[in-house]
Symmetry: C2
Subunit: 163 residues, 2 copies
């Protein structure tokens, strides 16, 4: 947390004063390793031809990687653990012009879940080497999915699919 | 939860026996309303020309929608509250052929976060009308972001963006 204090707000920004409601638990499944060791070093958006990053799974989740190398692109979800969670309106350029949090891909959101499409380069045991991330080094990892564009459903279609 | 009992497993499926680690809290920001009132009625994948669904924000988060109607496509994240969380290997067709959880987009995953790209049809106060969802009616909503394909970063580029 950068500290949800109104002193940290830019011109025009506003916060929710509702207390955080702990409705469900996220469990960290591993850690993301990137070259970006400070927030200032992080790019605004990862590039699919950017530097290699590592998705290091905890050993107990490694079996769940079976078959993942069939996919060139993955959706990666991670927990932006340094982000405040109470901003309603944000001013990305700090100029007083604001947009709502849900009209931005800022890391600051009620549930600080980052989502990147990455290119899978290779697997090394319980680690995936990928390109395309923009998050801070040591960000907690929470999910890996085949990218929806490339994914073909394996289970049989259901009645609602046959529109 | 469908109950993480080994009696519910299909041939070839395997589970993690590690206890759930409550590393972070998710707060529900609203509710997703769809025509799919049972799991059997849900399609495998939502269609961008499918039925209208509703993202009903809690009133305290409504201001964070400012500017969202500028986007035709949104990424919607939701909490698949009925999913077990311990499967490592899954058999989508129930035929003994398995794939790892991270090679599938199944709702059953260590963090049951669903991710859909939706088309924004219109805003009605604190509710967004969208198409493209496949989740159960009354699924808790956790985030809304502009779809990454359409989103242009508004903040100035940083040094790591100028590769």
């Amino acid at each position: 947390m950068t500290g949800p204090s109104s002193a940290d707000l830019r011109k025009g920004e506003s916060v929710s004063d509702a207390p955080l409601s702990p409705d469900a638990n996220v469990q960290f499944i591993g850690i993301v390793r990137t070259p970006y060791t400070t927030r200032d070093l992080c790019p605004r958006q990862g590039a699919l031809d950017g530097p290699e990053c590592r998705l290091e799974l905890m050993p107990q989740w490694a079996p769940a990687l079976k078959g993942v190398t069939a996919f060139e692109y993955l959706d990666v979800l991670y927990w932006l653990h340094q982000s405040r969670r109470d901003l309603l309106l944000q001013s990305p350029r700090g100029d007083g012009q604001t947009a709502g949090t849900f009209a931005l891909r800022s890391p600051v959101r009620p549930n600080p879940i980052g989502l990147s499409k990455v290119r899978l380069i290779r697997q090394e045991g319980e680690t995936l080497i990928v390109k395309g991330l923009d998050c801070l080094d040591k960000t907690p990892l929470i999910d890996i999915k085949p990218d929806r564009c490339a994914f073909t459903v394996q289970a049989p279609a259901k009645s609602a699919d046959r529109a």
